[in-house]
């Protein structure tokens, strides 16, 4: 007899219709397994933050069910909340409190006695590199420090599932990279992580599993490698030693001239770059540099969202007459 571990998170038919009639979620089904680093991607207004809000009970759902490590939130919401830590998109710390108090109070809300709460808070602040700032007013912290303070606050009760809603939005690249390292460390320690982000490079770098949400529906849910393997073509930008007047004719490759004299080449999946270099040699074009036109995941993401919109547009509405 095998013992099956319940997933860290299971959403079934999650629906949300706001008071103004906007249907933000149209039946989300999702499973996030224990220990995963899961990315939830989608354009603005797709339903990412609504999904996170419902999971963390900041938004009331209209339908569906949520299970956290097998605990149904309809039956034991408090038990489920114990297992979850959340870092919201907006800065939501008390600007007039000190970081040590903010984090220790959060531990207290989870029932951790004050002395232990302060020890845990100190531990979290040291981990996030904020120990020296523990007694300063939180409104004086930089944007990156406030983000780290929110991560410290979310970790203080030792959650098994950490949910981060765009944790690196608006922070500089150095802080973003440092945050990535932290998140990887947290995940390596066994905490399941769900991340929503606008930075697709972030999802590609961190997430082992990715779901794409658009218009309140999951349009793709697979592991990152499989998702990237679905790329049919990749586009590269090549800078010639001498600016070109027109797109070069390279047999087997589609090319387009760019305004700055460089040109784009589409390379089908499975076609080696050597073939391109051979074609360039044959056409006597010397190239000084070469780069990806866009992030690979970004290309795929845009394609999937576009596909989803086209499908939605072609689906007849219930009150439409079809012939």
């Amino acid at each position: 007899m095998s013992i099956t571990t319940p997933p860290a998170l299971r959403l079934r038919g999650l629906e949300k219709t706001y008071a103004n009639g906007v249907q933000a979620l149209k039946g989300i089904d999702l499973e996030v397994h224990h220990g995963e680093f899961f990315g939830l991607l989608g354009p603005n207004g797709a339903g990412k933050s609504t999904t996170i809000g419902i999971i963390t009970s900041l938004i009331n759902r209209s339908g569906g069910s949520i299970e956290v490590f097998g605990i149904d939130t309809n039956e034991d919401l408090e038990g489920a909340k114990r297992l979850v830590g959340v870092v919201p998109q907006e800065i939501n710390i008390n600007q007039f409190e000190q970081p040590l108090h903010i984090v220790a109070q959060q531990a207290g809300y989870y029932g951790i006695p004050w002395r232990e709460a302060r020890e845990r808070a100190g531990e979290c602040l040291r981990w996030m590199g904020l120990w020296d700032k523990r007694a300063t007013m939180s409104r004086t912290l930089s944007g990156g420090m406030k983000r780290r303070l929110m991560i410290a606050r979310a970790l203080v009760h030792g959650p098994r599932l950490l949910i981060l809603d765009e944790p690196t939005a608006g922070v500089d690249i150095e802080v973003r990279r440092a945050t990535w390292s932290l998140l990887e460390e947290i995940n390596d320690a066994g905490t399941t992580i769900i991340l929503t982000t606008h930075y697709l490079e972030e999802a590609e770098a961190l997430c082992k599993q990715i779901a794409i949400i658009d218009d309140g529906r999951i349009v793709k849910n697979t592991d990152t490698r499989t998702l990237l393997s679905q790329l049919v073509t990749e586009t590269f930008v090549l800078d010639p030693m001498q600016a070109l007047a027109h797109a070069p004719a390279l047999p087997g490759f589609a090319t387009r001239l760019r305004e700055d004299g460089s040109f784009e080449v589409d390379i089908a999946r499975g076609v080696g770059l050597n073939k391109l270099f051979h074609a360039l040699d044959h056409a006597n074009i010397q190239v000084s540099s070469m780069r990806n036109k866009a992030n690979r995941l970004e290309e795929l993401f845009l394609g999937l969202v576009e596909e989803s919109k086209e499908r939605a547009a072609s689906t007849p509405r219930p009150n439409e007459v079809t012939s």
């Binding site: 919201p88 098994r160 460390e185």
Partner: protein, 301 residues
């Protein structure tokens, strides 16, 4: 009206020189997640966790009141002292006796009660609305805290502020007037119950408030008129009909008179009715506030 914490106290803790001076995330520590054992692994009863969460909220609220004392404690004391000066040496001697007491003796219980109820109300409304406005109320909403713990935690903060101000005003009043305090236990009981009722009322106001105007409407247009017309400055026996009968619909009239009975041994209203009104308001406001919290009215989409 208490402003949202515009100025705050100084840092309480000096930096620890023994700790590494790092302002970058520290990825070299040995597995901090081992230290941060999950609360779900610890053997604590939910009752004990609920108590700790409640105590944490109380500690935070009391800390807030004390930390910003120039905004929370000082202004009402100064205002009430001005009342004592005006109704004592300046006007009181010209008004003469009221039911056998000097005018200052007669109005002092009402002035103390006015300070208690307005400050209990304002503390909760400003603190909870401030938390909503800055969104850090979400800290509590994502935690397993019960609605009751949240409400009672805020209410105790309001009661603390109301009673501290009431006590300070009472001590100052003793400098101006001779107060016999005929029934001390009753006096304290009425002050506490009134404070609780208005703390719950402030909580409901904060929940439905959408902007700063909404937290000033009730104190300005409801609380102040009801208090001024609630027998603080006069006996309802002096009113002609229909004003006397209309005054009986004012709940604050009963609270002020019960408190006056505790201090002077004289009330315009039956004590049992006063306690009945207080109980009704406490239970009613409590149930409404808990229902609103559970439904997420004003705090959840």
């Amino acid at each position: 009206m208490t402003k949202l914490e515009a100025t705050e106290g100084q840092n309480e803790m000096a930096p620890d020189p023994t700790q590494p001076d790092s302002t970058k995330p520290n990825a070299t520590r040995p597995d901090p997640m081992q230290t941060l054992r999950s609360v779900s692994d610890q053997q604590r009863s939910r009752l004990s966790e609920g108590w700790v969460a409640f105590a944490t909220t109380v500690r935070r609220e009391i800390h807030r009141v004390v930390r910003i004392w120039p905004q929370t404690l000082l202004p009402p004391v100064i205002t009430t002292c001005l009342y004592f000066i005006i109704f004592g040496p300046i006007l009181g001697d010209r008004i003469g006796l009221m039911h056998g007491y000097t005018y200052l003796q007669y109005v002092t219980p009402g002035l103390i009660m006015m300070a208690v109820l307005t400050n209990s109300y304002q503390n909760v409304v400003s603190s909870f609305f401030g938390a909503k406005f800055q969104h850090h109320i979400e800290e509590m909403l994502v935690s397993p805290m019960s609605s009751e713990s949240i409400l009672l935690g805020y209410a105790v903060g309001g009661v603390f502020r109301g009673l501290v101000i009431g006590a300070v005003v009472g001590v100052v009043a003793l400098l101006f007037a001779d107060l016999p305090i005929v029934h001390p236990v009753l006096t304290i009981a009425v002050a506490v119950l009134t404070s609780v009722a208005f703390a719950f009322g402030g909580f409901i106001n904060a929940m439905v408030a959408r902007n700063f105007d909404d937290i000033t409407i009730v104190p300005t247009f409801v609380l102040t008129p009801l208090t001024m017309l609630g027998g603080v400055f006069y006996s309802v026996d002096l009113l002609a009909e229909p004003w006397r009968t209309i005054s009986y619909a004012n709940p604050i009239l009963y609270m002020v008179n019960a408190f006056r009975y505790g201090i002077l041994g004289r009330s315009d209203m039956p004590l049992a009715v006063a306690f009945g009104v207080l109980s009704l308001f406490i239970i009613g406001f409590y149930l409404v506030a808990v229902w609103m919290l559970r439904r997420g009215i004003g705090i959840r989409s």
